[in-house]
Structures are given as structure tokens and as C-alpha cells.
């Protein structure tokens, strides 16, 4: 009996230690972002006066106003949303049917093609950047959103791999029953496969959205005009060559604005993410 009580005490101490460790880790991780938010709402001329703050003094929205006066930040927000939504839709549209065919279809090159597609998971994005850039140039698409969007879609290796696993895990009887009811291969994709993996689609959509939202180097290269930029690319404009007039406040305001939409996406997709990456 006493042993049980001692074990219980030990467990409580352990839990306390875990809480302590996680609290420290969380505070350290969040600190730069808290600092950023505090700066975003602090009047610009006060920011440099005191480097350390966790809360804005004389809280103001002036930095957001100043940022939107200097640059079309709402247009950037719209461009970011558009690009991220398009890339997400493109990735799902390519990977879901392919994953289904790799899971359930029959073709003698099926497995070879599967390997061909998923190995691209390993490709660093800058590896293809020079030839892709040349192609975009030849097609006259520089400084357009499609130039940002289209080459960003084919990184689908992970999505194909993941959806195939999910579809393979579905009981074959479901498909066989549908087949007996006269549903063809494509019908089964729409009626059986898609609805049964629908719960994990938001998880992958969220990751696709996040990836596209944050495209930086490729965006710097392809988006030249001020009004065509996305938030991730436009942020760079807040530092000037005669930089002492650095607008720290407006910069941090735009930074904060750039996080909000992806935060919402992840909050919405939270349950789906937990289900998607549970061990199958």
C-alpha cells in the first residue's frame, strides 16, 4: 500500500517537472513572436528606445495604418490568399486521383510510377529554380501570380504517398460491395475513396496552404511590381537603403498580419491533423 502511495507521489512530481519543462520551452519558443506583436502595436518612435518589451506601451494601430499607406498590404494579403488557395487546390487535384490509382488501380508500371512520383519528396526546391526561372521567362510570365503558383504545385510526393496509405487502409470489402452494385473504378473513387479519406484532407490542405503562403525565394524572383507581391515577399520592402528611418513598427505590423490567416487555417484543421497523423 505504501509503495503505491510513493509511486503516486513520484508520478505527481514527475508531472510537475514536465509542466515546468514545457512551460520554459513554450515561453522561449513564443518569445520572439510576442516581442513582434508587442512592437506591432507600439508607436514606431518608441520601439528602438527600449529594446525589451512583452506588452505594447501606448498601444496603437498607427503602425498598421502607416504600413497600408506605404504599401498595398491588403492587396498583398489578397494575393497571398489567392496563391495559397490555388496551390492547395492544385496539389489536392493532382494527388488524390493519383493516390487512388496507386492504391487500387492495376497497371504494370504502377509501382514504378509511384516511386517516380514520391521520390520527388526529396528534391530541395531551389534545385530546379534556375531552369524553371528560365522557362517562366521564356513564357513571358514573370511578374504574374501564375508564375508563382504553377511551379509550386507539383511538389506532391508527400501528398500522393499519404493519400495512398490512407486509401490502402480502407477495407477492400467496401470497394467490392460497391463494385457488385455496379459502381465502376471511377465511381468508387468518388463514392467510396474520397468520402472515406475526407477527414484527413483538411490536414494536408492546411500544410499545403502553409507552404504556399510562405513561399519566399521563388516569390522574390517572380514577383517584381509592388502590387503583385504576396505578404511573405512584400515584407522585405520595409527596409530602405538609407535605412536609419527603418519602420520597425509597420514592419512588425505586416509580420503580424502575415501570420493571422495561417493561424486560422490551422485552428480549423486541428482535429483533422490529429487524426491524419495518428498511427494507422
Amino acid at each position: 500500500m505504501r509503495e503505491v502511495a510513493a509511486a503516486e507521489r513520484r508520478r505527481r512530481t514527475a508531472r510537475l517537472l514536465v509542466h515546468g519543462a514545457l512551460a520554459i520551452a513554450s515561453a522561449a519558443t513564443l518569445f520572439p513572436l510576442v516581442w513582434m506583436l508587442a512592437a506591432a502595436f507600439t508607436p514606431n518612435d518608441l520601439i528602438l528606445a527600449r529594446p525589451f518589451r512583452l506588452w505594447p506601451e501606448q498601444a496603437t494601430l498607427a503602425n498598421f495604418a502607416a504600413a497600408s499607406e506605404a504599401y498595398p498590404i491588403w492587396r498583398w494579403l489578397w494575393n497571398s490568399l489567392l496563391a495559397a488557395a490555388a496551390v492547395t487546390a492544385g496539389k489536392l487535384a493532382l494527388s488524390l486521383p493519383a493516390a487512388y490509382a496507386f492504391a487500387r488501380g492495376r497497371h504494370r508500371w504502377r509501382d514504378a510510377a509511384f516511386g517516380f512520383v514520391i521520390v520527388t519528396m526529396a528534391f530541395p526546391t531551389v534545385m530546379v529554380i534556375v531552369p524553371t526561372y528560365l522557362a517562366v521567362v521564356r513564357l513571358g510570365l514573370v511578374d504574374t501570380l501564375p508564375a508563382l503558383i504553377v511551379p509550386s504545385i507539383p511538389y506532391i510526393g508527400f501528398y500522393v504517398f499519404f493519400f495512398r496509405q490512407a486509401m490502402k487502409a480502407l477495407p477492400p470489402e467496401m470497394f467490392e460491395a460497391a463494385s457488385l452494385d455496379g459502381a465502376g473504378f471511377l465511381r468508387q473513387f468518388v463514392d467510396i475513396a474520397l468520402p472515406n479519406v475526407a477527414h484527413v484532407v483538411p490536414a494536408l490542405a492546411a500544410f499545403a496552404f502553409l507552404g504556399a503562403w510562405n513561399i519566399f525565394l521563388w516569390g522574390q524572383l517572380t514577383l517584381a511590381s509592388v502590387e503583385n507581391k504576396t505578404l511573405a515577399v512584400g515584407v522585405a520592402l520595409f527596409s530602405d537603403i538609407e535605412g536609419a528611418q527603418s519602420s520597425w513598427g509597420p514592419l512588425m505590423a505586416v509580420n503580424s498580419l502575415a501570420i493571422l490567416p495561417v493561424l486560422v487555417v490551422f485552428l480549423v484543421a486541428r482535429r483533422s491533423i490529429e487524426r491524419a497523423f495518428a498511427n494507422r
Binding site: 506605404a70 530602405d240 536609419a244
Partner: protein
């Protein structure tokens, strides 16, 4: 003399009074036929450059100019190269003198005389003859030499007084004088004795102020004959003097953004950097700022270098090129120059422009002493050559290798790049 408070808003308000009425009447007719030219620039929407663009557009000459801020010289040059290889060059670009050859030989900057010979002659006549060579590359007139700066010394007077240093700062200083005062500042204010003081000195870790040291010591980065002169004893002595405060712990070498932020927040006592900061520093700093010449090398004749940028035409299209010329004409005019002076450049035009701030006197004095050009990196790979020299400067500041050895290796690497 008072500092001219030149913001985009005050300018537009002023203009509105004068031009609004006729402008509204003519607006419709002009818009439709406007040629739209993009200027890739190093200046954001809150700067005097934007004021120049806005004032030009308000004139409604049938050309609409758009300021496209593309970052610093290096970033903007890379972006313009990308745009050129995409077949969509900006009509105009501002870029450093230092990329003059690169602009002509790699980016294909247009010869203004070839676009419109008469207009080009009229244009260049607005600028003092001594700056004409700066925009003459391979016998072509590659731009308007409208922005000249030179590195000078900026002092935080609050620190200065707190350390008990002399109230009157000499007009000409040398490194002995400067380093001695940096040591005094460090001794008096360091170790927590002053709430915001963190470091006494920052000489700018880049290719430009290091060139000043090399030249002031009698050496050359690249001499008049185009020969790289880094392995000369004078050049080595200059770099030894440049690196000494860093090796002594008086200078923490950082990038220019960090340097500016540290100075205006009262952490740095002395900065040597571009004279254009005469506008930005007093605007952001809550303390008195003083300026004086860049430090010379004791016992040597001063041989300071200039810097700044020129506006070149990159449009291949005839209509765009003509439209660009209209913009350049406005820039060269008295009105354009007066607005432009708000960025803090030295006046290189023949127009009488009142100084924007008394702080610029140090730079003007340096100009009167005579300035050489900053290093204009030759060859099609000049951009890489500059990068190489910057890396070597950093290495020497970090004491990675002994300075004579580093200079010998820099000599080889840069010689190979500039002859490409």
C-alpha cells in the same frame, strides 16, 4: 538653417495648392495616352525620391512614372538583371556608381546620346563637369550623375559630453585622434556606466569605407589604370589601420542596418558611414548628432572617395526610352534637384540648392578637398568582385588570416574576377 521636413504628404499638400485646379481639367485627356515607365529604385515610398516621382507625375507630361523599390544596390541590381533576362527591363534604374561598368557591360545600360543626342547634351549640362566621367563608360553616357555622397563621421554628442570630450570637434580629423577618443568613450561610458552605450565606434564593414582607408594610406583597390592594387604596402597599411579598432575591441563589425539601428538608439558613439545619413539620423535619434570629415591617415595626404548612384535607362523600346528621358530631364532640373536634395546627397548639379541640413557641411568640405570615384568594379562579373572584396574585408576584421596574406589572396581573386 533649418532641416527641411520633406515627407510625401507635406509635398503633396504643397503641390495641391499650385497644380490641383488645372490638373483636374486636363487629367482625363492625358491619362489615356500616358506612357507608363517603371523606375527600379533603392528608395521607398516615404523618401524624397518618391517626392520627385510624384512631382513629375503631377506635371502631367504624358508620362506616368512608377517608383518600384527594389532594395539596396545589390538587391536591385540582381532584380534588374532578372528582369532584363526576362525581357522586361525597367525603363530606368538607380544604381551605385560602383556598378557603372556592370550596368553598361552586363545589364546593357543605354547610351543617352544614342536615344536623343540633343536632349542628352542638355541633360548632362545640368551637372558639374567633374562628375561627367562617372557616368561615362566605354565612351557612352550611361546616366544622370545626380546623387553623390561620401563617407563622413557621425558623433553622438550626448555620449561625447558624458565622456567629457571637447565641445568643438575639429573639421579635419585623423585616425589617431578618432581612436583615442573612442578609447576615452569606452573607458568613461563602458561597463554599464552609461545606460544605453554599448560600443564606441563603428567604421562600416563594407567595401566602401575600407576603400577610403586604403586610399588615404596611399594605396588603391583598383587604380586609374585598372590594376588591382591590394597587394601594395600602402594598401596593406590602410587595412591594418582599418581593422585595428575591431581587433582592439572598440568596434563590433555588423551590417549597415544593425549599425544604423544601434546608432539612433544611442548604443554607438561614433559611426563613419554615408553622408546621406545626415537626414535619417537626426530624424530618428533622440540626441544631438554632430558630423565631421572622415578620418585621414596620420602623415598621409587625404584621398577620399565618393559614392552615390546614377539613373540609367534600360528600356530597349523607343517610346519607353523617350519617356525615360522626360523623367531624367525633370530630375536634372532645378525643381527636381531641390526635391531630391531631401535624400541627403551632395549637390552635383550646377543649380544653387540650399543645404538640407548644416550637418552636410562636413561632406561638402570633403567634396571641396577633391574626391576620387568609389571603386567601379570592371568586367562582366564586377558584382561578384565586389562580393569577394567584402568577404575579404570581413575576414580581415575577424582576424581569420594575417592582413598581408589576406590582401595577397584578395588581389588574386579580385584580379581574376575583374578581368572576366
Amino acid at each position: 538653417m533649418k532641416t527641411l521636413p520633406l515627407t510625401r504628404r507635406s509635398l503633396l499638400a504643397g503641390l495641391a495648392a499650385g497644380v490641383a485646379a488645372p490638373a483636374i481639367l486636363r487629367a482625363e485627356a492625358v491619362r489615356a495616352s500616358d506612357a507608363r515607365i517603371v523606375i527600379s529604385s533603392n528608395f521607398g515610398p516615404e523618401t524624397a525620391f518618391q517626392a520627385v516621382v510624384d512631382a513629375f507625375n503631377a506635371k502631367e507630361l504624358g508620362v506616368e512614372a512608377v517608383n518600384q523599390f527594389d532594395g539596396n544596390y545589390e538587391e536591385a541590381t540582381a532584380k534588374t538583371l532578372a528582369a532584363i533576362s526576362a525581357g522586361r527591363p525597367p525603363a530606368l534604374m538607380t544604381t551605385g556608381w560602383k556598378f557603372g561598368y556592370y550596368a553598361k557591360r552586363t545589364l546593357g545600360a543605354r547610351d543617352l546620346r544614342e536615344i536623343d543626342a540633343d536632349a542628352a547634351e542638355a541633360l548632362i549640362a545640368n551637372f558639374v563637369p567633374s562628375v561627367h566621367p562617372l557616368v561615362t563608360v566605354d565612351d557612352a553616357l550611361v546616366g544622370v550623375p545626380w546623387a553623390m555622397s561620401t563617407p563622413i563621421t557621425f558623433i553622438n554628442m550626448e555620449h561625447w559630453r558624458a565622456a567629457g570630450l571637447e565641445e568643438t570637434i575639429p573639421e579635419t580629423i585623423d585616425t589617431d585622434w578618432l581612436y583615442e577618443r573612442a578609447r576615452a568613450l569606452d573607458a568613461a561610458l563602458g561597463g554599464g556606466a552609461h545606460p544605453t552605450f554599448r560600443s564606441a565606434l563603428s567604421l562600416s564593414n563594407n567595401e566602401w569605407t575600407s576603400q577610403s582607408y586604403v586610399q588615404n594610406a596611399g594605396g588603391a583597390v583598383i587604380d586609374e589604370t585598372g590594376t588591382v592594387g591590394l597587394d601594395r604596402p600602402e594598401s596593406i597599411a590602410g587595412m591594418e589601420l582599418f581593422c585595428a579598432p575591431a581587433h582592439e575591441g572598440l568596434w563590433i563589425p555588423v551590417g549597415s542596418r544593425e549599425q544604423d539601428a544601434a546608432f539612433v538608439s544611442g548604443a554607438l558613439s561614433i559611426v563613419t558611414t554615408s553622408s546621406t545619413r545626415v537626414i535619417a539620423y537626426p530624424q530618428s535619434a533622440p540626441f544631438e548628432v554632430a558630423t565631421t570629415r572622415f578620418p585621414g591617415v596620420p602623415g598621409r595626404e587625404r584621398r577620399m572617395n565618393s559614392g552615390g548612384n546614377f539613373l540609367g535607362v534600360y528600356a530597349q523600346d523607343a517610346e519607353q526610352a523617350q519617356a525615360a528621358m522626360r523623367f531624367l530631364e525633370f530630375c536634372a532640373s532645378r525643381e527636381g534637384q531641390e526635391l531630391w536634395s531631401g535624400v541627403g546627397y551632395l549637390n552635383s548639379s550646377i543649380h544653387e540648392i540650399p543645404p538640407v541640413t548644416p550637418l552636410i557641411a562636413a561632406a561638402q568640405a570633403q567634396l571641396a578637398d577633391g574626391l576620387t570615384a568609389e571603386t567601379i568594379w570592371p568586367g562582366t562579373r564586377g558584382f561578384e568582385a565586389q562580393n569577394a572584396w567584402r568577404n575579404w574585408v570581413s575576414r580581415m576584421l575577424e582576424r581569420v588570416d594575417p592582413i598581408p596574406e589576406a590582401m595577397a589572396r584578395a588581389q588574386d581573386e579580385i584580379t581574376a574576377l575583374v578581368s572576366a
